[in-house]
């Protein structure tokens, strides 16, 4: 029965769903990593965005406007991180930890002030983004059930993989981001301001992460609950790292993560110890990380032997 469940289109459908928030954050991590900065504040940015997504969409009574406002806010947090890291020379990890901490406290604080409870924002009447079915694809037997009837943002996240890929690899700014991340001096020797580029990259990273946060409370769920990001920002960091900090690589790893998380849900149908099943995605990540790093290390050694 479990095998049936895994082969069913619903499994892939669930996989895509679980992948979406991680994917956004993974893309965010990749853009930041490409400019040479580890953005560990993704978790905090997503958490803020999950809350503000609800608040903004309730304020505008529009999911789209809510999303746009949230993206602006995500960009602002990215800017804040950049300001501390680039201008005030704060250690990027510690700055991110501080932002995450502030997100933890501030989201509860704001929720409490607005709705009187610490747990859920369901008293705020927000407008989530809808799920949509795609006319033609919907009717293709298997594929239709996998791809169709997902949330708008799931499609957006898939499109974003392409967009970020094109951005990083086909557009001038992306080229500069990659150059700065790899060799600051080289970039500066041709007159590029590396700081400016890093500022821009972190803002973009913040915007992408905020879309992941918005999805949690305004797409997948229809309200905010405290701590609802549940470590997805950190997982995304791992996914991006394992994907070689490329959008496509990051996508495949987040898909793997989404799949193992969907699988852990399916395995619960089989009445197995759920604690062990819940470990699956993390064990997958840690083993994957070891293998990936090992291969990369060997490759580097070879390169320096030969080169």
């Amino acid at each position: 029965m479990i095998v049936d469940a895994i082969l069913s289109p619903e499994f892939l459908n669930a996989t895509l769903r679980a992948t979406t928030p991680i994917l956004f954050a993974t893309l965010a991590a990749a853009v930041a990593a490409k400019c040479g900065i580890i953005n560990m504040a993704l978790e905090g940015i997503m958490l803020f965005s999950a809350l503000f997504g609800v608040l903004f969409s309730a304020m505008f009574q529009s999911g789209i406007l809510g999303l746009l406002a949230t993206m602006v806010m995500g960009g602002l947090i990215g800017l804040l991180l950049a300001f501390f890291v680039l201008k005030l020379k704060t250690d990027e990890i510690l700055a991110a930890i501080a932002i995450n901490l502030i997100a933890n406290g501030a989201t509860i604080l704001i929720l409490l002030m607005l709705s009187g409870d610490r747990g859920v924002s369901s008293s705020v009447k927000s407008v989530p983004l809808p799920r949509i079915s795609i006319p033609v694809i919907e009717n293709i037997p298997y594929l239709g059930a996998v791809i169709s009837n997902q949330n708008v943002l799931t499609y957006v996240s898939l499109i974003m993989v392409v967009v970020v890929h094109i951005f990083l690899y086909k557009m001038p700014l992306g080229l500069r981001i990659r150059a700065v991340g790899e060799n600051k001096n080289a970039a500066e020797s041709v007159g590029i301001s590396s700081k400016k580029i890093q500022y821009i990259a972190l803002v973009i990273s913040g915007v992408l992460a905020s879309m992941g946060g918005f999805f949690l409370s305004g797409g997948y769920m229809t309200y905010f609950t405290t701590g609802m990001t549940a470590g997805r920002g950190f997982i995304a960091l791992a996914a991006s790292f394992m994907g070689g900090n490329t959008p496509v690589g990051g996508f495949s790893v987040s898909l793997l993560f989404g799949a193992s998380s969907a699988l852990s849900n399916i395995l619960q149908l089989g009445n197995w110890p759920y604690e062990i099943i819940q470990m699956l995605p993390y064990i997958t990540t840690i083993i994957g990380l070891a293998i990936y790093s090992y291969v990369r290390m060997k490759k580097r050694q070879k390169l320096s032997d030969r080169g």
């Binding site: 001038p172 790899e182 080289a186 320096s304 080169g307």
Partner: protein, 515 residues
Amino acid sequence: MSHNVLEMKNIMKIYPNGIVAVEDVTLELQKGEIHALLGENGAGKSTLMKVLFGLESPEQGQIFLNGEEIQLKSPLEAIKKGIGMVHQHFMLVSSLTVAENIVLGIEPKKSIFVDMNKAIDISKELAKKYNFDIDVTQRVEELPVGIKQKVEILKALYRGADILILDEPTAVLTPQETEELFVQLKKLKELGHTLIFISHKLDEIKSICDRATIMKSGKSKGTYKVSEISTNEMSKLMVGRDVVMTFDKKPLSLKETALKVRNLIVEGTTGVVRVDDLSFDVKQGEIFGIAGVEGNGQGHLVEALTGLTKKYCGDILIFDQNISNKNINEIRKLKVSHIPEDRMTLGCAANMNIMDNLLSNQYQSSEYSGRFMLKLKKIEERVNKLIKEYLIKCKSYKQNVGMLSGGNIQKVVVAREFSTEPKIIIANQPTRGIDVGAASFIRQRIIEFRDAGCAIVLISADLNEVFELSDRLAVMYKGKFSGVFTDVKKLTEEELGKYMLGIKKDEVLEGIIYE
């Protein structure tokens, strides 16, 4: 008569650490010439060029381009004015392709995208125009250094460089690659570009340059037509000593052989042979000087001797023990001390205090620690003693080393390395970038150790130093010894300059090995 495209007048540059790198230098470039800039290591050549490329702002002086005064605050401005620079160290993004590196920052666009095809076409055309044989779609990390050098040049040319600065472009090239580069530089000249060419190799300068400006200790020694000056005269101007300091040295008294090197071959990270089949001996009681222009393999030799690299073949014996399987700690236990070339990266931990920095090679000795604990009282005594003995200027040993001046940091390093009763000292550029007082203090110490029977290998690009200190002197050129002199006093500067610059080379090296 051709007119001056560029004039740098009375340029002075003082670094924040107080070093006067360039002192009142004037440089005039004529249109379409290849202008050599030569001088010893540390003469200020790179600094002068960085000023010209807008990377460093001068304390004083003016720059005129085609007779008009210009201000260069950033590389971007220099690029806009048609000045390009190929740096002493590569400035390339390895994972990008050649074409991407070339267009970086001023990419050709198709709507909002980089027009990659156009970038490739441009790069190809550029390469073709200047006769460079490069596959522009390859990633830079896959290229040999010779090609990388060419990419650097293309980068500058793409930015419309009329004046192209080449800071030691041949330092990393093989003779064939150098030949090829020269063909292309000549072509550039034909096309009307003006080139500044920095090199330590006089034959190179002879073969392609029109005029040469010689620098020495931050000052200009004049500009000469290359055809009217002999290599001997050039090398004399370059290396001529300014102050002759003399040190009291006891007569040489050699003891056992401390260091025995046989057929040593060391490869660099890029796979190029850096030390090429060297054999030599050093005995206790002598200073074995190794002179040479930087980048001729001295660094790699030191790495092998001190255990920092194990990528070598041949034998290194320290008191008859082969060290190929010994780690750094075990080598140090054989009483080997090492003054590293770069005090900030290898020689100290800038954010730790003087005591911690003076301790790193001694904390394991039973005098200063037990099984687990450090004997802090004893250590403190020792540290205070060393601070006094080596005249380290500081408030107390609790001060972080990074807060000290360069000379005092070097004294900390030297004090540490000399305080372990070493039997062998590998001193690599022990007085680089520090003031005269501190330098002569350190040199005096080195002599005291020699007199006390220590074997010393002194690697230095500073001719004053090797002349004054060495009992025996070898000159390193392209990974080999080009000459060995057992009677240093008889050696003239011109002679040494010729060996250093590869003008002269001895096939048979007498006195390098003790039988």
